[in-house]
């Protein structure tokens, strides 16, 4: 694991304010959005972000907890996973 880049996925039913509230949690942890895409898949709102965490003093566990708590209050599922898991699985 060389990078500190994460894939953040938000899955659930669409409503006002999802992007705003999720990204404000990210901002409070100083996590930068590198790329963002969103789509409706089988009627389910799906947002995928590639995000970069600060190199130093970054508490992944606390960030994951804050993100999933915010997701819960919005009624969506939020996952924060290191980018390698997706690169490794689909690329040689």
């Amino acid at each position: 694991m060389a990078s500190s880049r994460f894939i953040i996925t938000v899955i659930g039913s669409d409503r006002v304010g999802i992007v705003a509230r999720i990204t404000s949690v990210m901002a409070s942890f100083n996590v930068n959005i590198v790329d963002i895409t969103q789509t409706i898949m089988q009627g389910i709102f799906t947002m995928i972000m590639l995000a970069e965490a600060p190199q130093e003093n970054f508490d992944l566990a606390a960030f994951q907890e804050a993100m999933s708590a915010e997701g819960k209050s919005l009624g969506v599922e939020v996952k924060v996973q290191h980018e390698d898991v997706f690169r490794f699985m689909h690329r040689i």
Partner: protein
């Protein structure tokens, strides 16, 4: 985005809906430097060694789990076969060693510890016999300890004295744990051609050709393979094979990534990745369901052996392409009690012990987690083992038997072990005697390696 969103969602889907998981991260630890004639000192040595080596195992594994968002179900330890490490102990039995292993496993917070084992495929030493005779009490008095005995290899043939002994050891183990449906037997495997680097229980041990300490990873995902096949529209078997291969590739890549990161953080060598489709009692996480998705009305119908051969081979091909460290068992497991589809097939009368035996000639492991009537004679259990060992020895593959003669139970009853071990309907065995054959003892010689017809 440089990673395709569809690929991201595919990975997420595998974990959320299809039970993709890392089944186990298993740390192999050599105990060869722990030998001592005084068993008390030996026990102190192994406790110290295991808990020191595995100190950070669970914490690190949990960190990796949250980093990647991939569930890691079990953390385990395997050790040098105790019969080897404890050979010089003068004590008449080895039960206290099992208790020490149990304590070390609990204090390291791992789920299982394997290696209460002996390798007696050609013959048994004094230490081997002490260990084997200690198995029933060891499994009765511990929770996390798993035991295995290798009684046959392709190079040496089948040690029928050991096969005969194992029948009665299994009976005794069942009787000592009669209050829990004979659960002790769920932690005891009899092997042919046992792999030295297998991370899966109950057969894991740290082989004598292994390094000081090593990380082996077992990945699973029958649900993912099943979902991939179900998505195909009216496929032919070539297309099914291709899909299984690609799916196995993806699962293996993920396992390799996790294994390498765990070993890097712990500063321990990465050993092997074992891609085995290991079912769990969860609905959809079933090997039987994969075979049924290929077009069989029920697992056990004619055609099941062919379907399983296709599955097992495609899994190996995909895995071998994805990682150069594939080892262990790597294939499809067919443990009856742990697979909801297998249990249904047995209940429906579609799957018999005989058909399972045929299936084991083309897949990983062997007769696994099968409950038989409590009054099954020890000689019949030994004969079942002998048949399974013969399949492994002749076909140059690993086979094993994990069978539970459930005390007081008959055909029509079932046993409940709970958790990953699931529940099992009691299966009938042949009522004709094998006793004279088993009692003859001796060795079935190693098979000829040419003229293979």
């Amino acid at each position: 985005m440089y990673i395709n969103p569809n690929e991201i969602l595919e990975t997420i889907q595998m974990v959320r809906m299809e039970h993709l998981d890392i089944r186990t991260v298993t740390m192999g630890i050599s105990l060869r430097d722990c030998s001592h004639p005084d068993i008390e000192v030996f026990n102190e040595n192994i406790y110290e060694k295991i808990t020191t080596r595995a100190k950070e195992l669970v914490r690190t594994t949990n960190e990796i789990q949250s980093l990647y968002g991939i569930p890691i179900i079990n953390k385990r330890i395997s050790v040098t076969p105790i019969a080897v490490a404890a050979e010089s102990c003068r004590s008449p039995d080895f039960v206290s060693i099992a208790k020490t292993m149990d304590e070390a496993a609990k204090d390291s917070q791992v789920d299982f510890i394997g290696g209460f084992s002996a390798l007696v495929h050609k013959g048994a030493t004094v230490g081997d016999l002490k260990l084997i005779n200690s198995i029933p009490e060891a499994l009765e008095s511990t929770e996390k300890v798993c035991s295995s005995v290798n009684v046959a290899t392709t190079k040496t043939g089948i040690n029928m004295d050991a096969v005969g002994l194992m029948g009665s050891i299994i009976k005794k183990t069942a009787d000592l744990t009669a209050d829990r449906d004979g659960i002790g037997c769920a932690k005891l495997v009899t092997f042919a051609n046992a792999p030295e680097d297998n991370p899966f229980m109950a057969g894991a041990f740290h082989g004598i050709g292994e390094p000081e300490c090593v990380i082996n990873v077992g990945v699973s995902g029958p649900g993912v393979v099943n979902a991939a096949i179900c998505e195909l529209e009216n496929p032919n078997l070539t297309e099914i094979s291709e899909t299984i291969k690609k799916t196995a590739f993806k699962i293996t890549r993920m396992g390799e990534m996790v294994g390498r990161e765990v070993s890097r953080r712990l500063g321990v060598e990465f050993g092997i990745l074992d891609l085995s489709l290991a079912p769990t009692p969860a609905i959809g996480d079933s090997v039987a369901a994969i075979l049924e998705a290929m077009g069989l009305e029920r697992c056990g119908a004619h055609g099941t052996t062919a379907a399983l051969a296709l599955l097992n081979d495609a899994v190996k091909k995909g895995g071998a392409m994805a990682s150069s460290s594939v080892g262990g068992l790597s294939g499809a497991f067919i443990p009856v009690s742990e697979d909801a589809g297998m249990i249904e097939s047995v209940r429906a009368g579609a799957l018999s012990l005989e058909k399972l035996e045929a299936m084991t000639s083309v897949c990983s492991v062997g007769l696994d987690m099968i409950a038989v009537p409590g009054d099954t004679p020890a000689s019949t259990l030994s004969a079942i083992i002998a048949d399974e060992m013969a399949i492994g020895v002749i076909n140059r593959k690993t086979t094993a038997v994990r069978i539970i003669p459930a005390p007081g139970k008959r055909v029509g009853d079932s046993v409940e072990f709970g958790g990953l071990l699931g529940n099992a309907p009691i299966m009938p065995v042949s009522n004709f005697s094998s006793e004279t054959f088993v009692k003859r003892g001796g060795r079935i010689p190693a098979p000829i390696q040419s003229l293979t017809n």
